[in-house]
């Protein structure tokens, strides 16, 4: 009954897409309007926290290699931590804007984990390519949560922060366990899925 890895990627992509849409809407209407209803204020940090919790079963069940387990465990911890700081900021328990650096660490640790746990080169096959792309996308995009910490009212930082999740969702949806990338697949990768 364990889902194939590509299905897990697609399910997480769905969570990230919803997260991205919520953040994009918040960036468009402004934080004041977004937080007018309590449930909405907690919505995106709550989704992020839930995604962090859901990464634990991924760590436990997908034990392809030690590096996979470490990567998934690091994601789970850092995503829960980043989301928890955002929940604390929404609740008012945390006041300093520097707590927003929690999400910067999510981007950086996730990006590095993607890059480190992908053992194959870029053009080995599609999931290898996408893991490299996801890793670098997250590392480079860490500039957005960082800018959000320094200038909390920056519109560009908020939009970039939101769009990163949408891009991550798109890349995760493109992921296949074994499939060619740009018409290329390594003979070592195995038979491609349809």
């Amino acid at each position: 009954m364990q889902p194939p890895a590509e299905h897990v990627h697609w399910l997480f992509a769905t969570g990230f897409l919803l997260l991205g849409l919520c953040l994009l809407a918040e960036a468009v209407v402004g934080t004041e309007v977004w937080r007018r209803r309590a449930w909405r204020a907690y919505l995106w940090p709550g989704i992020a926290f839930a995604l962090g919790v859901l990464l634990w079963p991924v760590m436990v069940l997908y034990t392809n290699s030690t590096i996979h387990m470490i990567a998934h465990g690091a994601w789970a911890q850092v995503l829960m931590l980043g989301a928890a700081t955002e929940l604390g900021l929404v609740r008012g328990k945390l006041q300093s804007r520097w707590w927003r650096l929690g999400m910067t660490s999510v981007y950086l640790v996730s990006g590095i984990a993607f890059l480190v746990h992908e053992q194959n080169p870029w053009f080995f096959q599609r999931s290898a390519f996408l893991h490299h792309l996801l890793g670098w996308t997250l590392v480079v995009s860490a500039i957005f949560p960082l800018a959000r910490s320094i200038r909390p009212r920056s519109h560009a930082a908020a939009v970039g922060f939101a769009l990163t999740f949408v891009v991550v969702a798109v890349l995760l949806y493109c992921d296949r366990d074994v499939a060619p990338v740009f018409g290329h697949i390594s003979p070592l990768a195995g038979p491609p899925h349809r």
Partner: protein, 92 residues
């Protein structure tokens, strides 16, 4: 007086633009899902099941994208648009 009116009209136009963007997010997402389904119909295994296992029938990526778009449009956007309208109505 005219300057005040112009400022008020500018604020209203800005709010309307924001409302339009929020209203469009859900449908655009759903539309992207529909476009994907049309481009890659084989990603929806429910259309032509050939003995696939449970997960291949349960997790259909284009349908998930459509579902996210519809959820945003029907659950999140209406309240947000109401609050945007309230913000416009509230005197500053």
């Amino acid at each position: 007086m005219n300057a005040e009116l112009v400022t008020e009209l500018e604020v209203r136009a800005h709010l309307t633009a924001r409302a339009r963007i929020v209203s469009a997010l859900g449908p655009l997402t759903a539309l992207a899902g529909i476009g994907w389904a049309l481009l890659q119909p084989y990603r929806i295994t429910l259309l032509h099941p050939r003995g696939e296992t449970f997960w291949f029938l349960f997790v259909e990526p284009p349908l998930l994208v459509i579902a996210v778009g519809l959820f945003f449009h029907f659950v999140i956007a209406p309240g947000l648009l109401e609050d945007l309208e309230d913000e416009r109505a509230t005197p500053r």
